[in-house]
Amino acid sequence: MAEPPPVDPTAERLRAVLAAAGASGTWDWDIRGGRLYFDERFAELYGLNPADGHTGVRTGIFFSAIHSEDRARMKIAVAGIVGGAERFSKEFRVQSPDGTVRWMHGRGQGHLDEHDEPLRFTGLLIDVTERKRTEERLRIAQSAGGVGTFEYVDGFATATVSTEFCKLLGLHPTHALPVRTINGVVCDGHPPIIPDAEQHGVSGIEPLHGEFRILRRDDGSERWVARRGEIVRESETNGYRFIGVLYDVTAAKVAEARLQELNDTLEARVREEVVERQQAENALRQAQKMEAVGQLTGGIAHDFNNLLTIIIGNIDTVSRRLGAGGDPRARRSLENAQKGAERAASLTQRLLAFSRLQPLEPKPTDVARLLAGMSDLLTRSISEAISIQVRTPPDLWGIEVDPHQLENAILNLAVNARDAMPRGGALTIRADNITIKAAPSLPSYVVPGAYVEVAVTDTGIGMAPDTMAKVFDPFFTTKEVGKGTGLGLSMVYGFVKQSGGHVEIRSELGAGTTICIFLPRLAAGSEHTAEEPAITAELGRRSETILVVEDDDDVRVYTVEILQELGYRVIEAADGEAALRALNSGDTAIHLLLTDVVMPGMSGSELADRARVLRPGLKVLFTSGYTRDAIMRDGRLEPGLDLLPKPFTYVSLAAKVRALLDR
């Protein structure tokens, strides 16, 4: 230590040693004398005269070069020594006269006399600027990167740790922690962060990188931390040091877990998607099947109706010719033939209804009134063992449908319900206003909007799912052979689809069946119901000329015969071209064009259009067994068009022709 003079060789040697050790100066503070002595390096650092170091200066000089921010702290520290403390170890900044600031570590000792009174305070300054900067960088690296460091020496119960390390684990900041405390934060079942060397040795630590699930000590939150490190072997003790870092990887772990979960559920989601797709495909296949069958049956029905027109027409003619005085047996045979033909006609009608090719004549319809009007019909069709209840709300919306077809459909459903309740039960027919909102779960065939729902519910035997899937197929029936045609429900389906609605079916084996038909609400304001004109056979006059166009010779012959019988003058044509020639010939007035719709070459509607160019105001009556799209739009007759469906009878043809001419 730098003593006051004299300077001796020992002191010089000591100074050299201290300089080599990195000491930047020494001091000797005489507490009782109130003087401060220092060596040359201290003088240089403080910008003092080295000579004054030997003679001593006032003690306040000690603080003169200390950075203003550290001065108060150092004054307190020195006060401790002056007050009797023995150990002094402080770091502070010293500002040299040239302005450079260096970090110094001052290490000193308070010397006491035999009465424990403080005598002197000696110490030395070591330049720690470099170390301070390194520490600063390390500290910033740790706090900015959220990285905590640790060093564990093999065999020790504690590990040296950094503040950031403690923070990561939610422990109170300190420099040393028992290994057990560190490992205590790890969740059960996970390996320890710092393995017990006694038990595992170096191999217990490897691999050096690892991830640990922990419960933070302070807030109990669950986190993931990763450990990376190195083993440094101590050659002389055969031991090792484990030096490493710890950092939080919770975010990565959570993301990883989410990804894993997504991956795990992928299969289930694909399965779900496939099932959905299969359902959609089944529905599409079903729809396509129905469409194909519809086209097929529609085609058959067309030819069939032509044949029936001939059969019915000719039976009609023979019956009329036979007159009242004919052979009664022949008359009965003719009547039976007529009945058979009519049944065939009604069957064809149903086929067409299913194939959605029947011409509908929609009218604004009050379902409540329609149901009320059906009560008589229902009671007659349904056995007494079944109670019938019809429920309609007073504010039921109007709809626009073909009322006859709706009646037909409801009757069909009622009869099916009856057949499902062989031992009696209850039949409920209910109508309600329903608004269907757009939703992703809505099947594609359901259009959102306002509907009137007509539900027919029975308490009968119900249906199994596989039966339910087939009920709308034409010719599918659960009834005994001969009891049903298998066209009832398919007709209902075709009618409702053609009317812009849809059908729902709910059934369970033994728990009854409900079939709901949804028909679109009629736009407000157009609700009026027209009365049907009565059909009567009215005669014609010779002054009235009718042009009959029909490609089927037999049908044409029959039609012409009836019209002539009725008293009309008739011109006939086998196709559109011939008809146009007749119209063009400038022949006398033609009052009505009666034409088939489906003909080779020119269609009936095309002919009508061209005829009207030649003779504006010409009245046109179409006949058809299969109208397809020729004169229909969206399954309905175009307004202003008149159609006589095939097969027609003497009476129906007479009435329709007369009505048109008189209009």
Binding site: A72, I76, G80, E86, R87, L112, H172, L177, T181
Partner: protein, 212 residues
Amino acid sequence: MSADAISLTELETDALTEIVNIGVSRAASNLRKMVGAHVLLSIPAIEVVSQRRAARLISEREITQLVAIRQDFDGPFSGRALLIFPESNSLELVRAVTGGDLSPQEVLDIEEDTLAETGNVILNSCLATMANMLQRSLTMTIPEVLRGDGAKLFDVWEGSNSDGLVLFLYIDFAVRERDIRGYIAMLMDLPSLTALKTLLGEFIERIVGDDG
């Protein structure tokens, strides 16, 4: 009441550390006379924490049972002072203080008395120095030896609502080549800590004066 309700500034912490350092130096000097060997004591750090936190903190750092010497003090600030060692260190301390020539049984026999005496010297020196440096006077009760975990020493138990503040000081011992670590804890309530804070402010004012 929590540790956040009151805290010491950096300078106040420094000042208190130095004051306790003086007290510890006195204690070391007294112990030297008592045991006839070189004794070094130092106080590296000081913290103000809540009672619960103190209990948790010590249990994080010490995994064995603890032994403590307790003395209550009364004056301008009053409370309870504890000198705490890990139990494993306590016999070590007794051996260091008694000179190490005793049989294990003898060490056990005098353990309690030796601990009480050593604790008394250290705590008394610290508290007396504090009183002296802060220019006040304190009275103290006789020492008492306790054993248990952090919760027991700091009177923390489930449902307890008294959560006072603790001045937590780490203390390093070096006696006869033995390194022994311990803790000095001073439990005070809020008014006492506020009074201490005021006295520390006056002390700093005296030392640092007006030149910052």
